[in-house]
Symmetry: C2
Subunit: 155 residues, 2 copies
DNA sequence: TATTGTTATACTCTATAACTATA
DNA sequence: TATAGTTATAGAGTATAACAATA
């Protein structure tokens, strides 16, 4: 049996020194996830940049723009334009925080909630592509490990 | 004991609906890894965009530019400018492929190899930051799971 | 005809600094 | 003084189309 015809061309890179580095594996996995996510969100007029803003607002966390910038690792000025866009579409609203009148708390509209629920289904379905080789237990394990990387104290 | 003072502010997002989505965890983990990687590579005049090119070339895989575009998920025109930069610094060289004179095979110079070995050490050290909460077994497990996402057949 | 590398171009994203209003 | 949001701007990254050389 000719094993060389079985091994796909991808294995050439999969076995490379680079592919042993977590940073490369994270980058490539994220690139695949990004492409799938953007494709799924296009139908809702959202992108992987705007969707997380809508998601956190619709999760009733009442985040301020500053908090969004921190958790999404965006510059505060970028949050401004993303919030402008979503507010312009009537999906979320800015509310001046009573306890600190500098801050603006973000809350969802009914239309925002409705769109979010549909968009979220699409995002979860789109993840199926990159994750297709992992069973349910492996996906949970991957999520738990990644959560500890993403929210490592001090980062 | 006041447990609210122990739970860091990050847990507010860590427990959000968004933080259960693999795509978000990948994006945030990658963002942290990217920042750490760029900081470590700055001393070598490299970035997280150029380092993988040098790495695959120095791993003696003799990749063509087209192959680099595929594995690094870059447009072929982006590979041109990255290769221009590394070749201009005398770190790699273009060689016309004898079997297909359209293709250019990339090979390292002695200077390229030397820089790569140092840069690689710095990259591995920089990964320590985001991964600090995972022990050796967990890092291996994470890498194995991510490799199956990054190189899922059909992607 | 199709593919590799290249050039050119426009668009998106990111980083920085300065400004305002509040604290 | 310091911080939240805002504006403006420049730089880096990305996507697209067209072209020459080769298959």
């Amino acid at each position: 049996m000719d094993t060389t015809s079985i091994s796909s061309e991808a294995s050439r890179w999969e076995a490379s020194t680079l592919a042993s580095e977590l940073s490369f594996l994270l980058a490539r996995s994220n690139a695949l996830s990004l492409a799938a996510g953007n494709a799924a969100l296009r139908a809702f007029g959202l992108k992987v940049r705007s969707y997380p803003v809508l998601a956190l607002v619709c999760d009733d966390l009442r985040p301020t723009q500053r908090e969004l910038a921190d958790v999404l690792r965006l510059d505060p000025s970028q949050v401004v334009s993303l919030v402008d866009e979503l507010e312009g579409r009537g999906l979320i609203e800015r509310q001046v925080d009573d306890r600190d009148r500098r801050a603006k708390v973000l809350v969802p509209t009914a239309a925002g909630r409705a769109l979010y629920l549909d968009a979220r289904d699409a995002v979860l379905a789109a993840e199926e592509g990159p994750l297709r080789d992992l069973d349910a237990a492996e996906r949970t394990l991957l999520a738990d490990l990644l959560r500890r990387v993403a929210f490592a104290p001090g980062e």
